[in-house]
């Protein structure tokens, strides 16, 4: 997993509430057994017209947001299905940081596992960033995970909170499984105390 410390990037606004993971990556793309290559299917039904062409009226298709790596979204982003493919699609498309007033639980967990930082700011702060992204050309934002702050070059600053462990994993780009396996002795002891409750399969 790629560590993330200080990230500066162009901001794309998708300022709608309750964007669900069915929308972020529609089901027809979940049949792939690879972990990569989902970016072209991101928000497929919104980005493409029914004949498969790019819909120029959809915000992410606008040239001013080309290469954006920060997505600013509405509340409860990533609700619904647990599909991690949603995060793979966002990441493959180029997003490293997502900013919203709130995220759905499973989605937020999935982001951490893929080195994607979810930043929770107030409705007002998110609204302001979305407004600037829409109005200011080449609008960029800097997200500093060391200081837990975001700022732009136009005087906006905001602080966010994140739990220490998540922050640590993202800063270091840690392999979670490797860390857990360091506790082999404790896991084995737990198993010795607790027989499997399922009778044999």
């Amino acid at each position: 997993m790629k560590p993330i410390r200080i990230h500066k990037g162009r901001v794309a606004p998708l300022h709608r509430a309750n964007v669900d993971t069915d929308q972020i990556i529609p089901k027809q793309f979940l049949k792939r057994i690879e972990r990569t290559g989902f970016g072209e299917f991101l928000l497929f039904d919104w980005r493409r017209t029914s004949d498969g062409k790019h819909d120029p009226s959809f915000v992410l298709n606008h040239p001013r947001y080309a290469g954006a790596s920060v997505l600013v979204a509405g509340k409860n982003f990533g609700c619904g299905s647990s599909r991690e493919h949603a995060v793979w699609a966002l990441e493959d498309f180029g997003f490293r940081v997502l900013i919203a007033p709130s995220f759905a639980d499973i989605f937020a967990n999935n982001c951490v596992k893929n080195g994607v930082l979810t930043v929770v700011l107030s409705e007002d702060e998110v609204g302001e960033i979305a407004r600037r992204a829409a109005e200011i050309d080449d609008y960029e934002i800097t997200v500093d995970l060391e200081q837990c702050k975001v700022h732009d070059d136009h005087g906006l600053t905001a602080a966010f909170q994140i739990d220490e462990f998540t922050r640590h994993c993202l800063l270091e780009g840690l392999d979670d499984i490797g860390l857990t396996l360091q506790h082999e002795a404790e896991i084995a002891a737990y198993e010795a105390r607790h027989a499997a409750p399922i009778s044999p399969i």
């Binding site: 979940l30 057994i33 972990r35 596992k113 739990d163 979670d176 499984i177 396996l181 399922i198």
Partner: protein, 466 residues
């Protein structure tokens, strides 16, 4: 005075393996359910790292999401779906994980077969790479959905790092009226607290109306809790739970001792919750969703609300109505349907099919409606056929299919065409969920069957049963 614990606290505390310094608690997972869609990348991760599945005997796999519901033995036409199913078969062989495959008499939707086989038990921690894992909480288990990275983590370590969620008690006072089902209760809860009303929380349902539900009803209620954003949902085990479980294939051999342990799981009287919500069961009606999230509900004898009467912001509601092809103020009973889907892990168990068949009996599906019934598992299908339910459905003009997720998410060929309107017993009415441009209305099995026959939504409380 002794400390008081909730059901959730008790299960949580029992499963903390250790709390490594500066890290989240490491939680032991008793049962890991696996399906074809969210697992291939996890197994691949194990292979790349040279890791094994730590506890294959606590891991159970099935195929459900993308399999066709045509008669078994028909070759799978979609090569990508076939490849994904093939990958699961290969992975289960390579890593020694038991698989209830396509041709198994125990195949079914993962959240239907877990309880049915007695794998789901009170007091357990259960995970699956699927958000509706909350279903299993109906047995007093702590069950929640995880992503594919976490699937890999559990396969490798049988543990997960978890921050302890907050607790929320939802107390349902009074009794459900005639024609008002567990599905309506679930929709009523989401309508009241909102689709992110329980984010970060584990719900415990209590109260007379919840105690009065069958296990099937409790599963429906816990299943839908993720649609309110809940991390998990649970109901304390009681006689109803034990009666349902007794004699099932994988329940503990030391049954009587197990029941004693399970009884002690109930929340201590006076235990504290981080939040409490009260629901008055007598105010609930058979509901129909009219928007593109499960919180947008209206009673069947009501109307689509005026935009100004809603808390949600105006452009979002207008967008929903446009997508759904509906106008504010329309009577719900005036909305006609093209398709009906009875199935999904929310409502595809025997009791659901019985309820739908009771409505369908002696009636005919409206000529322009295509209606399908998809049992949740092979065992449900078999049991329904033993009772002759399939005959009732077929005689009334419903299709009777093989088990799987089917049109709940339309990964297989069962999908809506653009603009088609569907009365569905599933759990999500998101844009495009059942097919691009498809319009989904969530309802109970009885309401779905009635809509199929009437050709439009109709109040089940006025139904002429035959």
């Amino acid at each position: 005075m002794a400390e008081k614990f909730t059901l959730f606290d008790k299960i949580w505390n029992e499963h903390v393996v250790c709390v490594p310094a500066g890290r989240l608690p490491l939680l032991y997972i008793d049962l890991h359910l696996v399906h074809e869609v969210t697992s291939p990348q996890a197994f691949e991760g194990l292979r790349v790292a040279g890791r094994r599945v730590r506890q294959p005997e606590r891991t159970v796999a099935t195929v459900d999401h993308n399999i066709p519901t045509e008669p078994r033995g028909t070759p799978i036409k979609d090569p990508i779906a076939a490849r994904q199913i093939g990958a699961l078969q290969q992975n289960c062989r390579d890593f020694g994980v038991p698989l209830f495959d396509m041709d198994s008499s125990e195949q079914g939707i993962v959240h239907v077969i877990g309880p049915e086989l007695g794998l789901t038990q009170p007091g357990m921690t259960i995970v699956c790479g699927d958000s509706h894992t909350s279903t299993h909480g109906a047995f007093g288990a702590l069950a929640f959905g995880i992503g594919t990275s976490e699937v890999e983590h559990v396969l490798a370590t049988q543990c997960l790092h978890q921050r302890k969620p907050k607790s929320m008690r939802i107390d349902v006072r009074g009794r459900l009226g005639e024609g008002v089902s567990a599905k309506d209760l679930a929709l009523g809860v989401i309508g009241q607290i909102g689709i992110d009303g329980a984010t970060g929380h584990v719900i415990e349902y209590t109260g007379e109306a919840v105690r009065g539900l069958s296990m099937e009803g409790r599963m429906t209620l816990c299943n839908m809790s993720i649609e309110a954003g809940a991390r998990a949902a649970m109901i304390a085990p009681d006689e109803t739970t034990f009666d349902y479980m007794k004699g099932r294939r994988f329940v503990p051999r030391d049954w009587d001792e197990a029941v004693v342990r399970w009884r002690a799981l109930a929340s201590d009287p006076g235990a504290a919750y981080d939040a409490t919500v009260e629901i008055d069961a007598s105010l609930l009606a058979p509901f129909v969703t009219w928007g593109t999230n499960p919180g947008m509900i209206a009673p069947v004898d009501g109307r689509i609300p005026e935009v100004s009467d809603l808390k949600a912001d105006r452009p979002a509601v207008e967008r929903m109505l446009e997508y759904m092809g509906l106008e504010p103020g329309t009577r719900i009973e005036d909305i006609s349907v093209d398709r009906v889907f009875i199935g999904s892990c929310t409502n595809s168990r025997l009791e659901d099919l019985r309820a739908a068949a009771r409505v369908a009996k002696g009636h005919r599906v409206a000529p322009k409606v295509r209606a399908m019934v998809v049992p949740g598992s092979q065992a449900v299908k078999h049991a329904a056929e033993q009772e002759g339910l399939h005959k009732i459905f077929l005689d009334s003009g419903f299709e009777w299919r093989e088990s799987g997720c089917s049109m709940c998410l339309g990964m297989n060929p069962d999908i809506l065409q653009p603009g088609e309107r569907c009365a569905s017993t599933s759990n999500r009415n998101f844009e495009g969920r059942q097919g691009r441009g498809g319009r989904t209305h969530l309802v109970s099995p009885m309401m779905a069957a009635a809509a199929a026959i009437a050709g439009h939504f109709t109040d089940i409380r006025n139904w002429r049963f035959r």
